[in-house]
């Protein structure tokens, strides 16, 4: 089963955009997974283009080139589908940050590497970035809650280790993430996704200054 799934994936990767209709001999689980993935891509396309509120199931299925019936086989509705896409994006962004080089380096270098990874991954795909940082608030409900958790996790990857105990880390985290998200979102809204990596020195200074002082933070930022 895994083999035929791999063959099918290869067939798709080799240029066929969608599965052939009818009896294609592909295992049912693989087909379902493939359709689900395409719907996740479709919801990202639709939400980035129209905004979450104006996104309809029809827009998602049109972007994914998948039937409405199939949509409801995979998802209960729009929120369920967007939440699944959000979780995948979140995992990818956090993985990129955590697997950035510099794992064994001193904390300031690690922060710089992680912020660089964050900006790179967001610069690569403006639609994905909108879905990660802008649309969750409009979506509200479970998606907004998940977004808040994701932002908390993101801030956690930038914390000094061990955290200075006398400080209110929750407030520090939120202030940092509020600053970072604001700078990124404004550039995304202005259509400047590709230039996001230019923000790196400023974000490094923002993350480091409260803990190591501005002079040293500046030095580290210059290295960015």
């Amino acid at each position: 089963m895994a083999d035929s799934g791999a063959q099918a994936a290869e067939a798709l990767a080799s240029g066929r955009d969608r599965l052939p209709p009818g009896r294609h001999g592909l295992p049912r689980a693989f087909v379902a997974e493939n359709q689900r993935e395409r719907l996740l891509n479709g919801v990202v396309e639709a939400v980035a283009e129209h905004g979450y509120n104006a996104t309809t199931i029809s827009r998602i299925t049109a972007a994914a080139k998948i039937s409405r019936r199939t949509f409801y086989e995979s998802f209960e509705g729009k929120e369920d589908c967007f939440l699944a896409a959000y979780e995948m994006i979140e995992a990818h962004v956090l993985d990129s940050m955590l697997s950035a080089p510099g794992a064994g380096e001193p904390w300031p270098d690690r922060v710089r590497a992680r912020l660089a990874a964050l900006l790179d991954v967001l610069a690569r795909d403006a639609a994905v970035s909108r879905c990660f940082l802008i649309e969750p608030l409009a979506a509200g409900g479970d998606v907004a809650a998940r977004y808040r958790e994701a932002m908390q996790l993101l801030a956690g990857t930038l914390r000094p280790e061990p955290p200075p105990s006398e400080l209110d880390m929750e407030v520090r985290d939120q202030a940092l993430i509020g600053g970072i998200a604001t700078l990124i979102v404004r550039r995304l809204n202005a259509g400047g996704a590709q230039r996001l990596p230019d923000l790196l020195p400023d974000l490094v200074e923002l993350a480091l200054a409260p803990y190591i002082g501005r002079e040293e933070a500046k030095r580290q930022a210059a290295a960015a």
């Binding site: 509120n53 608030l137 409009a138 202030a175 600053g179 998200a181 700078l183 404004r186 501005r214 500046k218």
Partner: protein, 213 residues
């Protein structure tokens, strides 16, 4: 034109679109529509605040609605602008009443902001949270309001203790951080947390400029 009520709306109307002409009293119906919009957005978010619900809560007809606003988003923007102008007027009142230094103005201003949020949580929700969910025009107005905060913070660069090499984005980030912290308390209904937050807000806003080491 999609709706009959849009077709029936007489135009142009003096109060249509942005703000009423200077000196003129805002038309009471327009104010009622904005009051209802504010309340409904606080309760149901921008998505849940439909024109149908707004006109019902405001006690006006949908024709009247379209005489003032082209659609929902324009109405949201007007409600947001009105709320921000109200807040800005209050801030100007408390910070310009006496001769205050810049750090005192910031501290007094932040005190007033936390008090305003506690007193008018519905309006605050519109300004801090929902403003980011009601479409691109509203987002642009939200960003313009953040810019005003950033401009006020930037005055701190004139202090002798202020470092000369703060990043250009510093105030933008600080304004975003302050808005984020306030919004999080508001969303969780944590008004006590709002009080406790005040000294930290002041620290976040002022510390970079008072830092002499």
């Amino acid at each position: 034109m999609q709706y009959l009520s849009q077709r029936l709306a007489s135009k142009p109307s003096p109060g249509r679109g942005g703000d009423p002409p200077p000196g003129a009293l805002p038309p009471p119906q327009r104010e009622r529509i904005l009051d209802a919009t504010e309340r409904l957005i606080a309760e149901h978010g921008c998505t849940g605040a439909s024109i149908e619900a707004i006109v019902k809560a405001a006690g006006v007809s949908s024709v009247t609605f379209y005489e003032f606003f082209e659609g929902k988003e324009e109405c949201f923007v007007a409600a947001f602008d009105r709320a921000v102008e109200g807040g800005a007027a209050e801030l100007a009142r408390v910070t310009e009443a006496e001769e205050l230094s810049w750090p005192e103005q910031i501290a007094t201003g932040l005190r007033a902001v936390t008090a305003l949020i506690g007193a008018e949580p519905e309006r605050a929700r519109l300004c801090l949270g929902e403003a980011q969910t009601g479409g691109p025009e509203l987002s642009a107005h939200f960003e313009a309001a953040l810019d005003r905060v950033a401009a006020k913070l930037r005055e701190g660069r004139a202090l002798e203790t202020a470092p000369s090499d703060l990043p250009a984005t510093h105030e933008e980030a600080t304004a975003g951080a302050l808005a984020w912290l306030l919004r999080e308390r508001l969303e969780t209904g944590d008004t006590e947390g709002l009080e406790a937050l005040y000294p930290q807000l002041v620290d976040i806003a002022l510390a970079p400029y008072l830092d002499d080491g």
